[in-house]
Assembly symmetry: C2
Homo-oligomer: 330 residues x 2
């Protein structure tokens, strides 16, 4: 009993001292510029009980796009690179692919021909590589790929290419009573393999595109089998639809980087009360990549034009971020 009291006293004393001193910077990788100030003001405001901008913890919901917002997405969405590697791995079992598009383009490493196959071609690749197995088998395949594969420019694991400032932002929001969600055009089961470990976002807070699944018994054991049929595309107007379905209430903060996030940002920021909309702008060719209006991957055009009048904060990777990636172990 005595020990517990001493411990509690120590806790209270140290807490008291910390409160008396300046708070530690919750966003050390963000330069002291307007974007950071805007985030901090919003987060402090929603916590000020009795204040005009106070928001109850149950309504502190923040949604994050993934590709280009929480990790890099160039030279192509990492999940597409996964699908291409998967085609190569499965090619021995499919000799017909050598002559059939879009498989041939993948095996030849011909990105131009692949791009020309359009949405239909990409869909075919997804079905050939993402369906036909159980949810557990698929997770194991993705996990093995993430462990082995290297990004062509940085020669690092893809999960090393998460943005340190955004990791800090996620942690800051959660420490401030927010529930953080991923709302991504990427595959929901692909994301869940690494989201908890890398972002601290558990599977039930990951929303993404999906293919249909079926419950069945295999040798008496129940499994969820992944079917070659699109269930839902979680992009553009699909994002607010998915948020409404999975979360059932309107978030108060949204973070994106492309026109695919436009409707999500619009929906989140057009209700009364404190709202935060933020766009990560890729303008840092030296440390990451620079692209916006002309890019096929993560195109940022309309959202960039409308950001000022909608009050969305545009974050310049180049000038707002002190560092881009976490320190990599050598």
């Amino acid at each position: 009993m005595k020990l517990i009291v001493s411990f509690a006293l120590a806790l209270i004393v140290s807490f008291g001292c910390a409160a008396a001193q300046t708070e530690p910077d919750p966003l050390p990788s963000w330069n002291d510029a307007p974007a950071k100030a805007r985030i901090v003001a919003f987060v402090r405001g929603v916590q000020q009980s009795g204040g005009q901008g106070y928001v109850a913890p149950a309504d502190r919901i923040a949604v994050f796009d993934n590709d280009g917002t929480l990790w890099s997405e160039q030279p192509a969405y990492f999940q597409l690179l996964f699908a291409m590697d998967r085609i190569k791995a499965l090619a021995a079992r499919h000799p017909e692919w050598k002559k059939k598009q879009p498989y041939k383009a993948v095996l030849d490493g011909d990105m131009k021909v692949l791009a020309a196959s359009g949405e239909k071609g990409l869909l075919e690749l997804v079905m050939a590589t993402h369906a036909g197995n159980t949810t557990e088998e698929f997770a194991a395949i993705v996990s093995a790929w993430l462990t082995a594969a290297k990004h062509p420019k940085f020669q690092r694991s893809y999960t090393d290419l998460v943005f340190q400032p955004m990791l800090e932002l996620l942690a800051y929001l959660r420490a401030s009573g927010f529930k953080t969600y991923i709302v991504s055009g990427g595959g929901i089961e692909f994301l869940r393999v690494f989201a908890d470990e890398r972002y601290g976002i558990p599977p039930e807070q990951v929303i993404g595109s999906s293919i249909k699944t079926r419950y069945e018994l295999r040798d008496g054991n129940p499994v969820i089998v992944r079917l070659p049929e699109i269930d839902f595309i979680d992009d553009k107007a699909g994002k607010p639809v998915a948020i409404s379905k999975f979360i059932g209430k309107r978030p108060i903060a949204a973070f994106g980087n492309s026109d695919g996030d436009f409707q999500m940002l619009e929906w989140v920021t057009s209700a009364p009360g404190p709202r935060l909309g933020l766009i990560v702008r890729h303008d840092d060719a030296a440390r990451e990549f620079a692209y916006d209006r002309q890019s096929t991957v993560g195109r940022l055009d309309r959202a960039l034009d409308e950001a000022p009048r909608r009050g969305w904060t545009v974050v310049s990777m180049k000038s707002d971020w002190r560092t881009v990636y976490p320190e990599w172990p050598r």
Copy 2:
């Protein structure tokens, strides 16, 4: 500072005393019978760190059917009674319904003819009453109905007909680090209107059947519009499929009352480690209703037969529950 210390000391002292005494019964409305003992043993086991049955809090996920498991479902699913009241409320705007089935059956109060219209007829009623409005409009309609409508047998609000023993079970699980979910054949947006207030289950932990929705602008304001098209039926084999999609991991406890919960119970209880499967049996005509194998609503047949060999606990409402409903204010 002095005040804070005194307060902390008081807290610690009172906590110390409570721990020294016997714990209060977490399930006072459950009779001291095997079902209660089984639940308590399971919940204690998963919390015993270092023990064989320990489960990390992140994996302590419990899923509950709603109709017949958390609240009553006779003489018909309450959501069907809502749809019927809604047809009556909208009838003035639809004179053609007087001559058209299944609307005529509803307006005549003829449950036999309505039942004969089958799944197709019921689906038509759902579309006529659940679609065409925004998510916010629909929630307001459901909320008004729940406030005004009375159950034909008990003459109480439908939300008074939740099961007190199950409310205690939900609270007990949450106090033991569980995340509690509803996984219901009922409509996800219908459930969300009352699940938080009545069950302490927030919208993002409610899974149910759904119709499709579309994001659109109305007078410049974004809304989610409910469309007359089925999206997903969350029943039978659909339950594990929906759990996999929304939660992304296999729960360790499942609670149901009918064959519609069979696959959910099967999926949850057929993995290694501690598992709890429980079936509420409606055998109490005096205090609630008595029905099982022959009922069209909440039929319990196969799951009852297989419960013993699958290790599912069958709860007799009559003998396991000290009370059925919460104390009603007069």
